[in-house]
Amino acid sequence: MLTSSLSQLGAALRSKKISSVELTQLYLKRIAALNPELNAYITVNEELSLQQARAADTQLALSHTHALTGIPIAQKDIFCAKGWRTTCGSKMLSNFIAPYDAHVIEQFNRAGAVNLGKTNMDEFAMGSSNETSFFGKVKNPWNRNSVPGGSSGGSAAAISARMCAAATGTDTGGSIRQPAALCGISGLKPTYGVISRYGMVAFASSLDQAGPMARSAEDLSLLLNAMAGFDARDSTSLQREPEDYTRNLNTPLNGLRIGLPKEFFTEGVHSDVANAIESAIAEYKKLGARIVDIHLPNSSLSVPVYYVLAPAEASSNLSRFDGVRYGYRASGYANLAEMYEKSRAQGFGAEVKRRIMIGTYVLSHGYYDAYYLQAQKIRRLIAQDFVEAFKQCDVIMGPTTPTTAFNLGEKNDDPVQMYLSDIYTIAVNLAGLPGMSIPAGFSNNGLPIGLQIIGNYFEEARMLNVAHQYQQVADWHTRSPQHIEV
């Protein structure tokens, strides 16, 4: 069961080979066994999960089913789920029980999926290694000394260690794709606006986008079918006809034009990563694709632009965590100002505070034009680069990250080095484009490597097709970490 695809699990459930309760218990047992070491989950709630599993079994008995009915799915702890503690990886929300469901959670509930638990993440999704979580670091199942990536590191690790059938993530600058690459799984960040942000704790509103994380592109397409769709509660949600993201999976790739931006293949890329990406591209050529050299001249500005805009929005988004209505409040204070200061000083971790300060600074009177407005202008130029590029190609490919998973603690003292691990993923968020990462091999020391596929707006179905065809001829996505018994 642990190696089954989502459609195989669905078939097993519908044919009563296994019940949802049994499947949920199987995963809960596995979590109980592996989580003390890997720390992929912040919250597990057996009672709530089994309650949903029982309801799913009733639906299955009545044959009122969706592709995901009865399947246990892990939810990143950034999504509010009614009755579930929703911490966003922060002490600030360590006592927060969400009184409502995020749109994404509603969609999974509607599909009859089981919420298996809330996965660990960098605090407020700010981080690339999962080390900023108040609930402790997550270990990479492929190497316990390595980071799983972040911020959706808990989801990536849980999938990789088979501690769930699939999971959700969110991606503001690479938070789905980077941990997917580092943990050897598949992850998709859709076009901005395809999945409602309602109920997803905001980091940087103009960049945040939820997405599915799973082992294969086929699984991703089933998850995306459930997650996508217009939601009036999110003004940036796009009103479009519903799509079946599985519809193109089996389309042959003859004539596919793959754009390779030279900016993604510089000396910063580790040779193991470069080799793996080259091999994957060679495989695509065999599948009928042809290569086009493209340029993304402004992409080198992505990291600085991102680290102006994302903190600016975050500094405002996180103002609501003030100790007044919910969340952490310091115990001793003499007056209102002190209550704010102490609650926020004690409730937020170092990286969150760093970004709040950067954001506050760039929005300040006298600096706004030089930083925020300037960054917005460059953001448009970066988006324009992609518009030009997609005139010549159907998808863009490159490494998801410059290196494989780095060691726990390695980049803790150097935020800029940490920020640079998202150098290839950030431009996609700035442009609002869909991007994904799929397993494309291993380094010499056995760590997973991710291939990034970037599509034009709303080209998710095409990207899933491109990824799925590769996964028909490559088996990287089926591999499991050596130390994890399956």
Binding site: R197, V201, E313
Partner: protein, 482 residues
């Protein structure tokens, strides 16, 4: 050399939408604390704002009725500051791209002499949409502050004027006109006690013709009387300060309604950096011409246009026209009454502004609660015009109608208020008066014409008030002439 007072107003108008500007929670006033605050108003993690189309529509209505440009694209920005009754830690407002651009409002300012006014046009700088904050309750819980978020997210239109007003009277006339207008076009209930219409006044003084002086902003004035008092006090304070050799520092002040004084709340140095930036959760508000035209065509005739109509076509004074258009209901009442007695606009105006208004005020009623309908008032006036009753009798009919109800004609009959129209009887009656007052008649005929009133009084008394005064005077004059 005298000082010129310079005033600009920022008026917060609470828009009359059923639900809040960014959530579906109701806006009704007076509910139990925090019962009208949903997840969005509480700023729970993950919630997002949804713009209420009704609020945008009301802002457009306002813009059109002050002749302003409606921005085809306007933007919501976040105004960041911490306060316990501001749940998100920022207020969603509009900053550099407001929905309503420059417009103007023409007002009638009373001169102080009875019934005299002068006209003035005040320029409106802009009007923008924003959300209200909640309330901090300091009195209810001993030693603690309570937060009531019912008001959080209530839609406001902030209307900013140019510093065009030169006296408290002008500021009050402008505020009143604005108050009339927003109720007239149905975008605000105008309830000042409940905070639906609040004024901030920017006041400075200068020597005429010189540069503008440093202003102080008086916050949150929720009655016209306080607006007047606060500006007068503040202007005098500034004059005294400057004449005493002091200087004015830019500041925000509060008006203490009990002491009648303004006092400084915070100085410019304490001014916060609000770090405005476009709210990434909301798309720019795009308004096309079609929508604007649709709203324009739904607008009622505006007070200014009605005033012009009343003065030009009915011959009413500017003062009368202004009073009769103080609300749409008042104007409707007037027009409906006039419909009963065409060509008697002045008579209708006098009764409406006199007896009706006085009676309403006595009982704290507004025109919509008037126990006498326009048809009934029209009927009374018709009976005056056709000579059936005298003005004195009309007042009695009015009083009876007000307190007991009924129909004017029936009241006239039961009370026997019909005027005497039998000229024969009246002539006999007057002849009798002349016969029984020979000395006064002689004096009158010798030139003491003042005595006419004496005879008229006797005649009216003899008729028990039922004589038609015009008819009676005519007979009296003829008989006295001998």
């Amino acid at each position: 050399m005298h000082w010129e007072i310079v005033i600009g107003l920022e008026v917060h108008v609470q828009l009359s939408t059923c639900s809040k500007i960014f959530s579906g929670a109701p806006t009704a006033f007076g509910a139990e604390p925090n019962t009208q605050a949903c997840a969005i108003d509480l700023a729970l993690p993950g919630v997002l704002p949804m713009l209420n189309r009704g609020a945008v529509e009301r802002a457009i209505k306002f813009g059109l009725s002050v002749g302003a440009h409606i921005a085809p694209r306007s933007v919501f920005s976040r105004k960041n500051y911490f306060y316990p009754d501001l749940p998100k830690g920022y207020q969603i407002s509009q900053f550099d791209l407001p929905i309503v651009g420059q417009g103007s409002l023409t007002i009638q300012v009373p001169t102080g002499t009875n019934g005299q006014t002068y006209e003035k046009t005040v320029r409106i700088t802009r009007a923008h949409l924003e959300e209200d904050a909640g309330k901090s309750l300091h009195e209810d819980i001993q030693g603690l502050t309570g937060i009531d978020l019912n008001r959080a997210g209530t839609p406001l239109l902030e209307i900013v004027s140019e510093p065009d007003m030169r006296s408290a009277a002008e500021a009050v006339s402008y505020a009143r006109m604005l108050h009339t207008l927003v109720r007239w076009i149905g975008i605000c209930d105008g309830n000042m006690q409940e905070g639906s219409f609040r004024c901030d006044a920017n006041v400075s003084i200068r020597r005429p013709g010189k540069e503008l002086g440093t202003r102080r902003e008086i916050k949150n004035l929720n009655s016209f009387r306080f607006l007047q008092q606060a500006i007068e006090y503040e202007a005098q304070w500034q004059i005294d300060t400057l004449e005493g050799g002091g200087s004015i520092q830019q500041a925000t002040v509060l008006f203490d309604t009990e002491k009648g004084e303004t006092r400084s709340m915070r100085s410019k140095e304490d001014a916060q950096d609000y770090r405005y930036f476009p709210d990434p959760d909301l798309l720019p508000v795009v308004i096309d011409d079609e929508w604007i035209e649709q709203i324009r065509s739904s607008l009622p005739e505006l007070p200014l246009s009605k005033q012009a109509h009343y003065t030009a076509d009915f011959g009413l004074s500017a003062y009368d026209a202004n009073t009769l258009t103080s609300s749409r209901e008042m104007a409707d009442f007037f027009e409906a009454t006039l419909n009963e007695v065409p060509n008697e606009a002045k008579l209708c105006a006098n009764w409406l502004m006199g007896d009706i208004n006085a009676s309403l005020n006595r009982q704290s009623l507004d025109i919509t609660q008037c126990p006498i309908s326009p048809r009934q008032l029209g009927c009374i006036l018709k009976r005056i015009v056709d000579g059936t009753i005298s003005s004195t009798a009309a007042k009695e009919v009015f009083k009876t109608l007000w307190s007991e109800g009924g129909e004017p004609d029936a009241i006239i009959d039961t009370k026997g208020l019909k005027q005497m129209s039998d000229t024969g009887a009246m002539e006999a009656m007057i002849e009798e008066i002349i016969a029984s007052n020979p000395s006064q008649v002689a004096e009158y005929r010798n030139g003491k014409e003042k005595l006419f009133g004496f005879f008229a009084g006797l005649a009216m008394k003899a008729s028990k008030g039922k004589a038609n005064p015009a008819q009676m005077n005519e007979i009296l004059k003829r008989k006295l002439a001998g």
